[in-house]
């Protein structure tokens, strides 16, 4: 009896897993198929029609500025990652290892501020950027990205650094190590998982963000993928829908592979951000 119950339980779990796999993979499979389907009408074709063409991918590269958008997004993503890692780890190191006046209040301020997306004060940011002549430049967008993610990331990384025993840096200090030596040679090597997490999050942010580039980047040749692809959908034209399915896949594949490859580090990052404070 007990054994039967147990088997029924396992069966139920498998049912759940299969159901969820279908729900997850279904939309993805449809998009993959749609991107290879001849013709421009995405909707008339059903799930069971298996004809094949590469036309949409060809159109993507020859008829649209897709490659340009891809390059733009990559440049933004890479710079955002590089700058974020430098600024965030250094700031977190200071908050984790040094005492200074008003530190508690600053920490509290960081916690409050990290909840606000930059978009909430976008009018002001826009005017500031235009005063600095940074509208329609990648630099302007990068400033907003890096500062926008700074509070949350600092909080996260500080939590991770706090868990690294201070006895390590004290020992190094006795041996005559300076501030930067401790940072680069003791803290950073022990913080690889969280560095990967910060790098990944800041690298992927520009691929997903839609609002800020819409506002800050004005000229067509500076658009990012998210903005360009959204325009295809918002235009409500069937021809663009097929372009979308091909374009979306080419964005999703590398990002997804990145996530799958680094999944161990992601769990570390998520857990250290959530569980410690």
């Amino acid at each position: 009896m007990n054994k039967l119950m147990h088997k029924a339980g396992v069966f139920a779990v498998y049912l759940l897993l299969i159901f969820n796999a279908v729900v997850v993979l279904g939309p993805i499979a449809w998009t993959v198929m749609a991107s290879f389907k001849p013709g421009v009408n995405l909707f008339s074709s059903s799930f069971t029609d298996f004809s094949f063409t590469l036309d949409h991918y060809r159109a993507l590269f020859t008829d649209t500025p897709y490659l340009q958008w891809y390059a733009n997004t990559f440049v933004l993503a890479f710079s955002n990652m590089a700058i974020s890692i430098i600024v965030v780890t250094m700031t977190a190191f200071i908050f984790s290892r040094y005492r200074f006046k008003g530190k508690r209040n600053v920490m509290m301020g960081i916690l409050v501020i990290q909840m606000f997306p930059a978009f909430l004060s976008i009018t002001a940011i826009y005017v500031l950027l235009s005063k600095l002549n940074l509208i329609d430049t990648f630099a302007g967008l990068l400033f907003v990205y890096v500062t926008g993610s700074l509070p949350f990331m600092t909080w996260l990384v500080k939590g991770y650094f706090d868990a690294i025993p201070t006895s390590l840096d004290e020992a190094a200090k006795i041996d005559g190590a300076g501030h930067l030596t401790i940072f680069f040679e003791i803290i950073l090597p022990l913080a690889k998982p969280i560095l990967v997490f910060v790098g990944l999050t800041s690298f992927t942010a520009p691929w997903m963000d839609f609002i800020l580039p819409t506002l800050i980047l004005r000229s067509e040749e500076k658009m990012t993928l998210a903005v360009g692809i959204f325009q295809w959908i918002a235009s409500n034209s069937a021809e663009n829908y097929t372009l979308f399915s091909a374009g979306a896949l080419l964005v999703a594949i590398p990002i997804t592979l990145l996530f799958v490859a680094t999944q161990k580090h992601i769990t570390v990052g998520l857990v250290s951000g959530a569980v410690k404070e």
């Binding site: 040094y98 978009f119 002001a124 979306a248 999703a252």
Partner: protein, 430 residues
């Protein structure tokens, strides 16, 4: 020796720094401090006129509007730029006063330096390492977070809105709290605020609870000892987290379209199309369900990590006591997970509260609600702000709504901080 004999006299008199910032410091050979203060004063002298005119502009917000003389357009004052310059000027004035007072305070207690410039640089670096390294992040945060929030608050006190007050064509004026009053008292505004606001809260609560619940179930299923191929399942289930959210949201927008593939499958069974995105109630349900699709893997990964933090002995001990699996779940797993994950539940709530993409990419706030001002049925506060700003140029009202969000989320953040601190003392008391 001679130097130290001179010094007390200087310090007792009115220090030179009162007139020339950094003067006393330089006399006492504190080169770094001295040069810094001196530089501050030089900058002030150079830009004093600009500073004053910016402060004046902040009060008036300009008095000549753009106008024509014959066919020529004469540029008037740009009120919003004047507002921003004014805020900057206030910032700088306060910073200057602060530096000035510090400079005097330092000058009164100063003792002559006996070490060389090189040694001074070395000592400065050692003592102020934290300050030096925090400066870039601090300036960035000040310029792109604090300053914009301040400006937003100020914009909410103006009449900066289409059609009559859009610079550079027209001037903008201070109007006090009029925007707040009209947002709460004018029927059309207040009902929109109430409707959109309550839906925002419902959306944020529902999507957080359901993503948590569903992620929990998935994590538990994957931790089941009798399940084969865990790694494969896990990778499949994390796909929605890995695929850029804007891609999956737009895919769903196509799939759920009135004439889209899902409806054509439904039609093939002889059932009429379901208006997933165009019926007011269904559209809200759809937004939440898709939100769970994209959000559940986050909690799955998080909880899977947290599950490994629960000591195995707890389960072993409870088995000895004859606890059932369900009892183990209720008494051990659930409280231990909730305890670990609580902070990120709050964070997820705040994130969803402002989850622009989850709504805008799917429905663009639609279907249209004729009883709302500039908003649709599924609009949350932040997408409403987007429309107010970009489509309708109602910057002042958008600023008021932003402030409401700021206040609401700040309260939650502070509550969260308090809770964490009390938790900390909890632990240390054990």
């Amino acid at each position: 020796m001679a130097i130290t004999m001179d010094q007390p006299k200087v310090a007792n008199r009115l220090p030179l720094s009162v007139f020339l910032m950094g003067g006393t410091q330089l006399l006492n050979r504190h080169y770094i401090k001295g040069c810094f203060y001196l530089l501050v004063q030089i900058l002030l002298v150079l830009f004093a006129a600009d500073l004053l005119s910016a402060l004046k502009g902040f009060i008036t917000l300009g008095d000549t509007a753009q106008h024509r003389v014959g066919f020529k357009i004469i540029h008037g004052d740009h009120s919003i730029h004047m507002l921003v310059e004014g805020v900057l000027a206030i910032f700088l004035t306060v910073a200057f006063l602060f530096a000035y007072l510090l400079n005097i305070k330092d000058a009164v207690t100063i003792t002559p330096s006996t070490i060389s410039l090189k040694q001074q640089l070395r000592a400065f670096y050692d003592e102020h390492f934290a300050l030096i390294m925090l400066t870039p992040a601090g300036i960035a945060a000040l310029a792109f977070i604090i300053l914009p929030i301040l400006i937003t608050v100020l914009v909410s006190l103006t009449n900066y809105a289409a059609p009559a007050h859009i610079p550079p064509k027209n001037l903008v004026d201070w109007v006090g709290f009029r925007n707040f009053l009209s947002l709460f008292e004018l029927k059309i505004w207040s009902s929109t605020l109430l409707g959109v606001g309550s839906w925002t809260v419902i959306w944020a609560v529902c999507s957080t609870i359901f993503t948590f619940g569903f992620g929990f179930v998935l994590a538990l299923a994957l931790s089941n000892r009798d399940i084969a191929g865990k790694k494969v399942w896990r990778v499949i289930f994390m796909l929605p987290y890995a695929i850029p959210a804007f891609v999956s949201l737009l895919i769903f927008r196509l799939l759920l379209n009135g004439i889209g593939p899902i409806n054509s499958i439904i039609n093939s069974f002889g059932i009429e199309s379901i208006p997933f995105l165009s019926d007011p109630v269904l559209a809200k349900v759809t937004v939440i369900v898709i939100g769970v699709w994209t959000g559940a893997p986050y909690f799955m990964l998080l909880i899977a990590g947290a599950l490994t933090n629960i000591p195995k002995e707890l389960y072993e001990a409870s088995e000895v006591d004859g606890a059932s699996r369900f009892q183990q779940f209720r008494e051990i797993t659930l409280p231990m997970i909730l305890h670990q994950v609580a902070p990120s539940l709050v964070m997820t709530f705040a994130f969803n509260f402002n989850n622009f993409g989850a709504v805008y990419l799917l429905t663009e706030g639609g279907p249209i609600n004729p009883e709302y001002r500039f908003a649709g049925h599924t609009d949350i506060l932040i997408t409403w702000i987007y429309k107010l700003t970009l489509d309708f140029q109602q910057y002042n009202v958008a600023a008021v709504v932003s402030i409401i969000i700021f206040l609401f989320l700040s309260l939650i953040a502070i509550w969260q901080f308090r809770r964490m601190n009390s938790f900390k003392t909890d632990v240390s008391m054990r």
